[in-house]
Symmetry: C2
DNA sequence: GTCAAATATTTTGTATACAAGGTTTGCCAC
DNA sequence: GTGGCAAACCTTGTATACAAAATATTTGAC
């Protein structure tokens, strides 16, 4: 069985990724301890782990803050994510097994259902599963882990663009092409399609931030 | 000022990377506490952080073990490292600043000195600095951090091939070409050169393992 | 009434204490 | 002598305690 601090780490991490703990927020150890019904010790151990992967930051004598990356940094993360996904896709095209093929087609089918039902929540979930199948199909477990990790870290930022006009349909169409190239073993094409597929999310995030900045600037000048 | 657990983390990490603590070795918290003259609490906090980045593993009720990746996993890590370095190189070719140019040429110069003196230890150090300059020149701080992190994790495995015949000279020649492509802004060429430059290390590592396996198998059959 | 300084309180960072589980050793049986 | 079981000991995992530092509050002066 897993230990308390494992569970706490996942719970707190989840809280951060779902926005339960907002970026920049201070995480009070005593409060967390009460909330989870444990002592401060395992809470601290969980926080230490989260700080090591960059999800929170320790300020000396001032405790833990939820990391608040600037927009530039988030965009950079999307850039790296795109490259890693491209790599996974290329590797999957070269090395996928027959089982991977089944899994890919199944995952795609479930995405199709979500699209047909116009169920963005379901699509969000199935989309994640689809990408994880690609990671696994790369036959590179380290790459797969890194992709999954970064994917998770970017989750709150992808959330923002969930319901952008027509994005679900566009995403689904891109998946279709990606699958085709992976299954036909066209590594280069798979790489480029995935690169673009992920990059567009970074671009959208940038656009979003830019428009927010503009609004903010306008509000300031109006004052 | 930094806290005790920061220093401990770095010390223990260093111990692992330098081979002071061997892969698979168990890290006794009490022993470490005595050794560093502190209580078990900050030791644990340091270990938690190291476990989060995958340098050690916690076995329930059995404490921390230095992670002992199989050869396949290490090879996979080199594959990802190669891709990330390629990305950094391409990005550096597109976006390096005049200051980056100076830093790159200086780093290269110091590599040249080490080569001229046939000083593999110095070359090892300067080579690392050279690669870090490329990371920074990518102008992508997240990518830079990820590269540095993975680079560090692979250090003990690169160490094995330090004195392979003529590797230093070959490496230096590759650097020369890489610099050329980065400074001339040829992103694609820079990417491919760096990809190959790092991959060769993974290949060498594989070869080494394969030959070790062969020796081991022979020893077994001779029994 | 406001600003500043001093004190009180809260909170972090480290040490110590204790309980549960795992390992080792020693003893007994075969 | 060897194998298995039991008990003692050792280590981890969590809780509590305590000291140092930062923050909040209150009081006093202008």
């Amino acid at each position: 069985m897993r230990n308390t601090f494992h569970k706490l780490r996942d719970d707190i991490e989840n809280g951060i990724l779902t926005g339960d703990f907002a970026p920049g927020e201070r995480l009070d150890e005593t409060q967390l301890a009460e909330r989870f019904g444990v002592s401060r010790t395992p809470i601290r151990e969980a926080l230490m782990q989260l700080s090591a992967i960059g999800l929170i930051e320790f300020r000396p004598r001032r405790g833990a803050l939820v990391a608040d990356y600037g927009p530039k940094y988030v965009f950079e993360m999307f850039e790296v994510m795109a490259e890693l996904e491209g790599m996974a896709g290329a590797s999957a095209a070269r090395r996928h097994t027959p089982e991977d093929k089944t899994l890919l087609l199944n995952a795609h089918l479930r995405c199709e259902e979500a699209t047909a039902n116009d169920d963005t929540d379901a699509y969000y979930y199935e989309n994640e599963a689809f990408h994880h199948v690609i990671y696994a199909a790369s036959q590179n477990s380290f790459l797969s882990e890194q992709c999954a990790l970064l994917h998770r870290r970017l989750r709150p930022y992808r959330r923002l663009q969930l319901r952008v006009h027509n994005r679900m349909k566009a995403s689904f169409d891109e998946h279709k092409q990606i699958i085709e190239k992976i299954l036909s073993g066209d590594a280069q094409a798979a790489r480029e399609l995935l690169l673009a597929h992920v990059r567009v999310q970074g671009d959208r995030f940038s656009d979003l931030i830019a428009s927010l900045e503009k609004i903010k600037a306008k509000a300031t000048s109006d004052r």
